[in-house]
């Protein structure tokens, strides 16, 4: 049940640029072949020279490549048509097991001695390990052709030291994890029992909800161990059909990180840094203590989540949910969000003020309340303006200053330099005492069309 893609690391919308220098390796590009990413991976694995491949998802074409991003003079570049798959062994800076499959470019020993080229016979003559198409003895890179349990080694350029281990770390030690490993982005791809992980972008052998596209901030790359759901440690779905998921063994970092964004009287973002003492749900139900397992059993045991401050029965967010939450003491209600905790204001402090609605504001503030720089009114990118110095010549639409050419009742605004945000209000507040007319009025004739009608029969029927 392992996918041939398990040996590869994927980079989306990326291609390897053809080596720009005259190189020993052939620079004519291999022909395009038809096939799915998995079929191309199979071919690349079977080939002695292939180290990577481009895959065009649209046309289902692929191109096997004899180099990787680590090869000399080769560079990565954007290409929305291709995904680049590279053999992990050529990219990893750590070793799996005894490192027999290591194909990285480390060329110094653990004591800092430069490695001798495998094809050289000075200063150390040897005939046991000469480069061949199969054994990966390349350049003067550290390798482990004899399954030495200390891992990859090399002959050294020091006449007094024939060979020496390179001291390359095991992957489970190379990148340590803090807290519960939510931010772990290392390259361990096997579980603590040694079972290989299933790729997150595959739904076999185990179907699962953690699509990398749905969880863009969880680092669900390839088949590496991750912690997208607030578990105790990084884990993965396994390639063993009989075992859905399993924890991975990752070295904990010695230092515990300082909690970010600690707040007590309000919560910011998803409230993962909320350390206040609200401990009742909105509907008045007391929260269950985190160190209790009744009425609701759970795995959020405080000592296993040292960074999450699961004290008492306070609302907390140990798993990246929408907001702080808690188990409730009501047997029928397992969890309740604590949305009634005030949200911390997340806007820039005002840098100026305006009178009325700011139609006559001619100040020089030129950024939005979120701190995004304003687009110059005369520019056409990133947003084609519907309001410009041409359409509103008397509105003083100078440079990229905040203005209120359309009498917006919420104050000066501007088009923004963020392609996703056409316009926003500015870091300017009404001047104190500026009398904004009480804008609540009664309007007599009110009429609506194409909205607000429903099939009242459904209402009477109820459900």
């Amino acid at each position: 049940h392992r996918s041939p893609l398990n040996d590869f690391q994927r980079l989306r919308a990326t291609e390897l640029a053809v080596p720009t220098e005259p190189l020993a390796v052939p620079t004519e590009l291999p022909p395009l072949e038809w096939g799915s990413a998995e079929q191309c991976a199979q071919r690349c694995t079977a080939s002695l020279t292939c180290r990577a491949f481009h895959h065009d998802r649209q046309s289902q074409l692929c191109q096997l490549l004899p180099w990787t991003q680590r090869s000399p003079h080769v560079r990565l570049q954007k290409n929305i048509h291709y995904d680049l798959y590279q053999k992990k062994d050529f990219l990893r800076d750590c070793i799996v097991g005894d490192g027999t499959s290591y194909r990285g470019t480390r060329a110094t020993t653990e004591k800092g001695l430069r490695c001798q080229h495998w094809r050289a016979t000075t200063p150390h003559d040897h005939s046991r390990f000469l480069p061949s198409r199969r054994n990966g003895l390349e350049e003067n890179y550290c390798r482990n052709p004899d399954q030495d349990k200390r891992g990859p080694w090399c002959y050294t350029l020091d006449p007094g030291t024939r060979h020496q281990s390179c001291g390359i770390k095991k992957c489970e030690d190379a990148v340590c994890m803090t807290c519960n490993g939510e931010c772990y982005r290392g390259t361990v791809d096997y579980t603590e029992s040694g079972t290989e992980c299933q790729r997150w972008d595959l739904q076999h052998p185990h179907k699962h909800p953690y699509h990398p596209d749905k969880y863009p901030d969880k680092g669900l790359d390839d088949n590496y161990c991750r912690n997208p759901d607030g578990s105790e440690r990084p884990w993965c779905f396994t390639t063993d059909p009989g075992r859905e998921r399993e924890y991975c063994r990752i070295r904990p970092c010695k230092k515990r990180p300082r909690p970010l964004n600690v707040t007590t009287s309000c919560f910011r973002g998803k409230g993962e840094g909320y350390r206040g003492r609200v401990n009742v749900t909105v509907s008045g139900i007391p929260c269950q203590r985190w160190d209790a397992q009744t009425p609701h059993q759970h795995h959020f045991v405080p000592e296993k989540y040292p960074c999450k401050d699961l004290q008492e029965n306070y609302c907390r967010n140990p798993d990246g949910s929408e907001a702080p939450w808690c188990f409730t003491t009501h047997p029928a209600i397992r969890i309740a969000f604590c949305f009634h905790i005030r949200r911390c204001p997340d806007e820039l402090g005002a840098e100026d003020c305006y009178h009325g609605h700011g139609e006559r504001y001619h100040g020089h503030v030129s950024k939005t309340r979120a701190g995004i720089t304003c687009q110059p009114w005369a520019d056409l990118t990133p947003h084609v303006p519907q309001i410009s110095p041409v359409t509103h010549p008397k509105a003083h639409l100078e440079k990229n200053y905040c203005r209120n050419p359309d009498g917006d009742s919420h104050g000066p605004w501007c088009y923004t330099m963020d392609p996703r945000t056409p316009f926003d209000y500015c870091a300017i507040k009404p001047c104190s005492g500026s009398s904004v007319p009480s804008i609540l009025e009664n309007t007599d004739a009110v009429a609506f069309e194409q909205c607000g009608r429903r099939d009242e029969r459904l209402q009477r029927k109820g459900r």
Binding site: V282, S283, E322, D346, S409, G411, T421, G452
Partner: protein, 227 residues
């Protein structure tokens, strides 16, 4: 919704997180646009990949075969003016309008709902055992005049807030309803006059319930849609 009963509100949407869990409500004001409250979202530039709105069904967690259900990914969030506590959610594709899915009207700018108007809240939130929590519940509430409400709240009422009178029976919105509509029948149409925001207690019997006054932000809503 506490103190309500199952009902039909074809503009009320369920907002679901990446795990498919309902966490807030919203109102469909245009085929591409839903209005909800800022309180429900981590930030004004949150990456909402994997988040969806669910419409066209009365069930909170309908079965896969529910014929009328529409699940539409949320493409973007746009935050309202600072004190509005509103957000607009742009959908990845337009909602299909039918007997189960309809647009709610927006009020005229600065429109004031006459005191005593009977309005309706809807949501899939906590019922506190007063109704079936697996379906959409609705409840009716009378609008309280600005002056009366301001008096009841000892002058703390903001212009951007709209009040409904407390009912002895304890009727009101609760956790999971936030972002949903306070809809009022005006000129034979249902109009979105308020958006449900979190309060510290559900369905109070001793204090007016507060909603975001939508008519104050209709100009912003139209501007976002236009831009």
């Amino acid at each position: 919704i506490v103190g309500g009963q199952p009902g039909n509100s074809p503009w009320t949407v369920s907002i679901r997180n990446r795990a498919g869990v309902h966490f807030c409500g919203g109102s469909l004001v245009k085929e591409w646009w839903v209005i909800s409250t800022r309180q429900c979202f981590a930030s004004c530039d949150a990456d909402l990949a994997g988040y969806e709105v669910q419409l066209g069904t009365l069930f909170k967690d309908p079965g896969p075969g529910d014929p009328d259900r529409q699940s539409i990914p949320i493409a973007r969030i746009v935050c309202g003016p600072s004190e509005s506590q509103l957000v607009m959610l742009k959908l990845a594709r337009p909602a299909t309008l039918n007997t189960r899915v309809a647009l709610i009207c927006l009020p005229p700018e600065r429109y004031v709902v006459p005191a005593g108007t009977i309005c309706e809240i809807a949501g899939w939130g906590e019922t506190r055992g007063t109704a079936d929590g697996s379906v959409l519940n609705v409840a009716r509430l009378p609008v309280l005049s600005h002056g009366e409400c301001n008096a009841a709240l000892r002058g703390r009422l903001k212009e951007s807030e709209l009040c409904t009178a407390p009912l002895r029976a304890g009727v009101g919105a609760c956790e999971g309803d936030y972002g949903g509509p306070l809809a009022c029948l005006t000129a034979d149409c249902w109009v979105l006059e308020g958006v449900i925001t979190p309060s510290r207690v559900c369905a109070r019997t001793d204090q007016p319930a507060l909603f975001i006054r939508v008519s104050l932000y209709v100009d912003w809503i139209h501007k976002v849609v236009k831009m």
